[in-house]
């Protein structure tokens, strides 16, 4: 009756496969600073938008082409054969400092974690969510790139100690990093819990965490000097290298998958990802999986009252009371939600996963966090 899919173990089926080059790229540009305009030509790797924050990485065209359509939300590029590309930057020979960080940011890396020192660096090598095997695939196949990424992270963060956390069923080593075995069961793969497994502390100061997907992206940039224009994602148990902006329609047709009306298509993980509303939506930077969930697989989410069954509380790894917090959020009492530990939540989704009434608890929690952030009262993002 209660089917639980918590396992993070994965069986790798072959290597990382490529996807046929898409004809069209669709990039979400909502809230970004645009760097191109309609009907302009872009080269492969050219910046199309920048992140408004201090540290967020820039966004690049994953192929050469022309901007066909541009609105508040989307930027659509029609790809061409010109193959025009930007020149690689020589990242590897740069000395650590502001300039290196700016260059990395310009190449699409989020530099928040890299821009200050820390004593301990934890590399999260766990598969992020059930049904996703990207992390393990990268550890198995892309060691060279990961090492390059770690090298760069080391120069910038200058940690005294580096620990790689991996599933206790697997043996992977990164040079110079000690290993920590973690039970491969969701939610143990979440950064906060991995850090706790390694250090024994909750949200410790002076510790930074990076996952292998980010490390891989960093390594790739260091090795090639080219911006990030692709992401590795698990689809139906296999891993693919997908250009950012590839439409879901294209992915589905390449992989011969069928979607019918009423189904849910998820970018990102099964627990934390986002359901897309159109097949024309493109893959985003950092997406590590795509799921197609037929409409009759799970009972519908319903916005109904809580019956106080307690399942969400008993399943919450952050030891907070999602039933209370979601109700506070529902009635816009965000400060009360905050008082009751809203910011301890690391959005694992287990509360909503196990809710008897199928309340959208995680949605309420994210809503409360967003509202607090927007009103500038949030102490922490």
């Amino acid at each position: 009756m209660l089917r639980i899919h918590y396992s993070l173990e994965s069986e790798l089926k072959g290597g990382i496969a490529d996807i046929d080059a898409p004809q069209e790229l669709s990039v979400q540009v909502r809230n970004l600073v645009l760097k191109t305009a309609k009907r302009k030509k872009v080269g492969h790797g050219e910046i199309i938008a920048e992140h408004p924050s201090q540290s967020g990485g820039a966004f690049h065209a994953a192929a050469s082409g022309t901007v066909r359509d541009l609105d508040y939300h989307h930027l659509v590029i029609t790809c061409d054969e010109s193959g025009e590309a930007v020149d690689p930057a020589d990242v590897a020979s740069m000395a650590p400092g502001k300039e290196l960080l700016r260059t990395l940011q310009g190449l699409g890396i989020d530099i928040a974690v890299l821009s200050s020192h820390a004593e301990m660096l934890v590399i999260n090598g766990m598969n992020p969510e059930p049904g996703v095997s990207v992390a393990e695939q990268l550890l198995a196949d892309e060691m060279k790139t990961l090492e390059a990424g770690l090298e760069m992270a080391r120069t910038l963060i200058e940690p005294k100690q580096v620990v790689l956390a991996v599933a206790d069923t697997k043996e992977y080593q990164l040079p110079g990093a000690s290993m920590k075995a973690v039970k491969p069961k969701y939610p143990h793969s979440l950064d906060a819990l991995v850090v706790k497994a390694v250090t024994g502390e909750e949200f410790p100061a002076n510790t930074k965490v990076m996952n292998v997907m980010d490390l891989y992206a960093l390594g790739k940039v260091v090795q090639t000097g080219k911006p990030i224009t692709e992401t590795v994602m698990t689809i139906d148990g296999h891993n693919y290298r997908v250009p950012i902006g590839t439409t879901i329609r294209h992915l589905l047709s390449c992989l011969d998958m069928k979607v019918s009306s009423g189904d849910t298509v998820v970018l990102g993980g099964s627990f934390r990802g986002e359901a897309v509303y159109s097949l024309d939506e493109g893959v985003r930077k950092g997406d590590y999986a795509m799921f197609v969930i037929p409409s009759d697989t799970f009972p519908r989410v319903e916005d109904v009252t809580c019956i106080n069954c307690g399942e969400c509380v008993l399943n919450c790894p952050a030891r907070i009371q999602p039933n209370l917090i979601s109700r506070y959020a529902e009635y816009e009492k965000f400060e009360l939600a905050e008082e009751h530990g809203l910011h301890s939540c690391f959005e694992c989704g287990l509360c909503a996963f196990s809710c008897t009434m199928r309340r959208p608890i995680l949605q309420y929690i994210r809503f409360a966090k967003d509202q607090l952030r927007a009103s500038g009262q949030g102490k922490q993002s």
Binding site: E202, F271, R272, R300, V301, I307, G310, A318, H343
Partner: protein, 323 residues
Amino acid sequence: MTPPIIKAMSDIATRLTVSPAPHWRCGRTLNSMMRAHLLALIPALVAGIYMYGLSAAATVGLAGSVAVLTEVFCLKLQKREIDVDNFTALYAGILFAFLLPATAPWWVTVVGAIITITLGRTVFGGFGCNPVCASLIGWAFCRLSWPAAMDIDLNLANFVINEPLFQLQKFGVDTLSQFNYTDLFLGKQLGGLGASQVAALTVGGGFLLIRKWIRWYIPVSFLLGVGAVATLFWAIDPGAYAPPLFHILAGSTMFGALFLATDTASSPVGKLPQFLFGLIAGAMVVIIRVYGSYPDGVPFALMLTNLLSPLLDRVRPKPFGGR
């Protein structure tokens, strides 16, 4: 803030469902939960009918249907969606019936079932919002209004066996030798028509526990509470107080532990609060049985402890990262 209107993308041939994360769910629903609970009551119902005959079946049927009809009526009045197909009203009605003597007059059954739904649930906002287990409200109302009609020993006087807790209260420990534990466990005791079928209830409750529809914290701590306090009294004077095992097997202790105390809305949500809740309720059961004027302390003990739930839920661990 009004969100900007985003133009629908060209494709409308395939309309996807957009829903919030998580996209996988454990598959529990209220409906499946209530169906499991109803299923769990069947052994005790069968045992009750076997023991008391068709009048037991009639009482359960009447209480169940009146509860459902009342719920429909109340939802109609409130202009809410009629969702009795989630079985919660039926379940509350049957739980109420389980506490009745099998031969309870029909009008008591009807009034009790109506009270269960109206005063037990609707006035507080419906299912899931009741601070006290709804069926117990119905029971208490009837018990206080028509003591004679609700009195187990009086109603079932034509049976050869007796109500153990009544015997204990009125005639003292010495009379308890007429009961042996196996008989008590097998339900050979007078009591609520379903509430004293200890073995059958254990089977049903065990099913709920194994299927994880209820957690073990409340039932186990409830029995621990009963056992501990009973042992205390018994140790003080075995001549004046009944042994702990008697308290666990007699009356509706098991029914309370597995079905009444685990009522979702009126019990606490956290692990430690649930455990404390069970302990306190269990302890109260024995205290009421020893000092109270009603033979079986389970319903009143639970109602009182239900009121403590919000307080108990304040016993919570420090959130992750402990600020």
